[in-house]
Symmetry: C2
Subunit: 232 residues, 2 copies
């Protein structure tokens, strides 16, 4: 009976940890959306809000790390539970860095909004990339919660699409810069934003790889089968 009581308390702790990670994930998904909305709608106040939100995400990482350490010390979990907690430590690092990237995008937006608007058709392509990135983050966390390696595999494959979207857009920007050298400083900021969205998809891919590692109990990270497009 006592054993059952401990086990149930432990289950609650794991479930609570899972909820905390999902809440942090939801927060960074919203940061992706708001950083890009602040660009398209030239809304500097929203950019400022996104920048401020990064502190919350940093605090979330610290709190979840401490929670993981507490559980490891008190419960000394083994097998699947040990794998879950130690890899949660890795996942939150990626989520925190997605938050960093959103704040960096919002900082670029803040300076862009103080300059003349950009004539290249950014209000379609950049939001489209942002939707992909946010979807990949969501799906990587869904895969984490539902122990769904198929979905995690899909995220790894979607990373190739994001790389292609970014590559094509960078080429367009390059042509634009050659034609309008005066617009180079603004074009470089847009280029940075596009690359940041691509980096966010890399983080989602890292999370997906970690999920596969956690479930399959062996490491498929950095191998060719799922993730040809993960490196650098």
């Amino acid at each position: 009976m006592e054993q059952k009581h401990i086990s149930s308390a432990f289950d609650n702790e794991l479930s609570d940890l899972r909820e905390k990670i999902l809440a942090m994930g939801g927060k960074v998904e919203r940061m992706i959306a708001s950083s890009i909305k602040s660009l398209v709608e030239r809304d500097t106040s929203l950019a400022e809000l996104t920048i401020a939100k990064d502190h919350e995400v940093n605090a979330d990482e610290v709190a979840i790390d401490e929670r993981c350490l507490d559980i490891l010390a008190l419960r000394q979990p083994t097998a699947k539970d040990l794998r879950f907690i130690t890899l949660a430590l890795k996942i939150v690092t990626d989520l925190e860095r997605i938050g960093d990237k959103c704040a960096s995008i919002a900082k670029q937006v803040r300076t862009l909004n103080a300059e003349p608007s950009f004539t290249l058709n950014i209000d379609v392509k950049i939001p489209y990339m942002a939707q992909w990135a946010a979807m990949m983050v969501k799906e990587s966390l869904d895969a984490f919660v539902n122990h769904d390696t198929d979905l995690a595999g899909k995220v790894c494959k979607d990373d190739a699409i994001m790389n292609e979207l970014n590559d094509k857009f960078q080429l367009e920007l390059l042509t634009y810069m050659k034609e309008y050298p005066d617009a180079i400083p603004r074009a470089l900021k847009i280029s940075y934003i596009s690359k940041s969205l691509e980096r966010i998809s890399d983080h989602a891919t890292n999370i997906a790889e970690i999920v596969i590692f956690m479930i399959k109990g062996k490491d498929v990270r950095h191998t060719a089968s799922l993730c040809n497009n993960c490196a650098g």
Copy 2:
């Protein structure tokens, strides 16, 4: 006696884990140097070697992760040892991503070396930045091994210098691109290399923050005192 035997075996395991992390660190330091040497000396074979080395670093991360999980499961460490192992899990992620960045630099070098050489004075500034980045990686790992929070604090402060070096160099590149629009594609690759070195210094700073966390037992990450320059 039996207890002492176990304790000594455990100490050896921890010491072996530390050595493995240092060896991985040494590998990525050499990758930083070789990626930049391949740029300055236009040595495409060396760039290829650097790209190939990334697979080794990826394998190192996987092996160290598995080692950490084994130790956690078998030894169920507490307090300082628990903190050491769980945070080793985080440190190797940063080392692996430094390896990724070096491989990405070498890929840019490979295409740059197939084009006419670049007239802007890159053979002084880029190697200087690379030396800073490599030094920061080394010092962050020295801080880890020697439990040296002062050195870890120095790494966090050095990050500001790297950011400044990169910002100044990006401005120079911007002026250059305006003047020579035909050189924009090559200039953008150099710009990417400079930013990658700056990103490597961010990873060293992340390691330094984790070391401080490990030693002080409370989280100073993402706080203003040491690391104003860590975000995004």
